[in-house]
Amino acid sequence: MLAHVADRLRPAPWPGRLARALDLHEFQGKELFRRFGIPVSEGRLATSPDEARAAAEELEGPVVVKAQVLTGGRGKAGGIKLADTPADAQARAGEILGMDIRGHKVDKVWVERASDIAREYYLSIAFDRSAKRPLFMFTTQGGIDIEEVAASSPDALVRLHVDPLEGFHPWHARRLVYQAGVEDPAEQKQIVSIIGKLYETFVGCEALLCEINPLVVTTDGEVRALDSKFTVDDNALFRHGDVAEMRDVDAADPLEALAREKGVTYVKLDGDVGVLGNGAGLTMATVDVVTFVGGQPADFCDLGGGGDAQGVVDALEVITKDPQVSAIFFNIFGGITRCDEVARGILQALEQMAIELPIVVRLDGTNAEEGRRLLREADASNLHTEATMLDGARRAVELAA
């Protein structure tokens, strides 16, 4: 059986602050595994049923057709299917392509040589934020819900931190394997080797997570990674060009993709008050306050540290593309960001884009006086200035109603 991958919903890390992470597709993670010497099954990527058929012909024998989407629960959703023949692979790919799995549309499948599985284990290395160290986790009870294993039989899940300065030593791998109770010597040897290579992968790609679930033992006694969950640190991508290219821009929300292209930090929410702040903390607090005074934020948009006029224009372009937005709230506290620059950006955007939506602006901090003067003198009927964050939020919520 294939793994029951049931990722659960967890609080969202905000971009620009906590997320700074790139999730990779299974086939991309496996490609990285392969480069670092971790055994994976041979496979091909297909974006049409015909391609899936051709892939199955090349691979020969039974294959597994797997939806490539950046979410868990693919198996349960019917996104993973076995195919005995190329014609079968074509038919299964036809069923899977175009499916919606938890809001993710399937536009590609991974066609992989099927494995005869004797046992399923779980192996991962992840960035442990609390301990500030990488953490290995290994159990022979893989394939089933691993969070359930962690909760119900914690001793079965072996955990081992690695000192980031000392790095990996072979004893780490031996300890994991013996403590988890792997008994077959040939199996022990293979897993010890895979654990070392997984650490090399983790460090070599500057990953935040490398998870293999399941790590399978085939009926021939071979150990292999049958799936991958791979997350890479955005901040390190500048020196991993090959990984950076793996970003699936088609998988992102279109507004979020536009924002990324423009260098704007933007998260789409469901309300009607467009929120724009400078700095992740203040922007988060602004979204909270808009909610607190009874409104519904349409987005989280962080101008960031610099916040020049062009940045403001770009941000407004993204926000106003959302048809749900009926008022915009600018909450700016100038530090590095200069309020006069923000005001110039707002006026420039009004000239270029003919925005008719009401815009509430609250400016404080560096050059706030100058910024407020510029806005006042512009005398635009849809521009409203407020003195405090709370009043600004209230006004924007009123105007959106």
């Binding site: 990722d7 609080p11 969070e147 980031p164 640190d233 929410l269 988060m284 506290f333 590095i336």
Partner: protein, 290 residues
Amino acid sequence: MAILVNRATRLVVQGLTGSEGRFHGLRNREHGTQVVAGVTPGKGGQDVEGIPIFDTVAAAVSDTDANTAMVFVPAAFAADAMYEAIDAGAGTIICITEGVPTHEMLRIHAYVHARDVRLIGPNCPGVLSPEQANVGIIPAEIFREGSVGLVSRSGTLTYQIGHELTQLGLGNSTIVGIGGDPVVGSSFVDMLTLFEADPQTEQVVMVGEIGGDEEEKAAAFIEAEMSKPVVAYIAGFTAPAGKTMGHAGAIISGSAGTAQAKKDALEARGIRVGTTPTETARLVAELIHA
């Protein structure tokens, strides 16, 4: 008094010749900070408005007795700059740079904690002790001197809350931005420890946000170790539920990381949590006027 930076601070700015480093380094000097040196490899012997530039931090420290380093270099070089400052004997290092890779920070965190050195940041606005010294990018003009210690993971949100305090007539001993990244040199607990020991500080405001479990650790610390009252604010209550790939994250984290979980952890230990920045400032005022 105050913590981390004061009149005795002698600052070396790594990256003083860059446009941002120059702008903020000079602003820090205007506030009264003793900015004694700058470091830019290859520009030793030059000066920025009378501040001598050195090729290495070691030379700057040896010539000027600098005791504090501010890192203002691009992310790709920031880790190197931090190691250099540690090695040169700067006892306090404040890294403003945003975007330092997490793996670098894991190593630096371990390196720093094995030594007698204090690292603030990265990805932080710096440290301000009003009327004494300003190291970083915090706009000093919105704060005044006083008894409230302020520690925050955010930059602009710190200004917001500081501004609200000022408007209520309250001042600060020191404002510390510890940085917004998952791995930073100093934690809330580290800063609360310093505030507890600082005679000028009488109350503390802690500004947290979603993610990680540092606020939860701080809650336990405040209950067990602190005599001074602490008021908290947490940003991110309305953050939408999102996705994290894989299971490891869910298994590792002891806390849900949500704003609500943090608020609950704090309130369970008797620490008051403001709903908005405005209310948070009011809670501090109530403490003082009670």
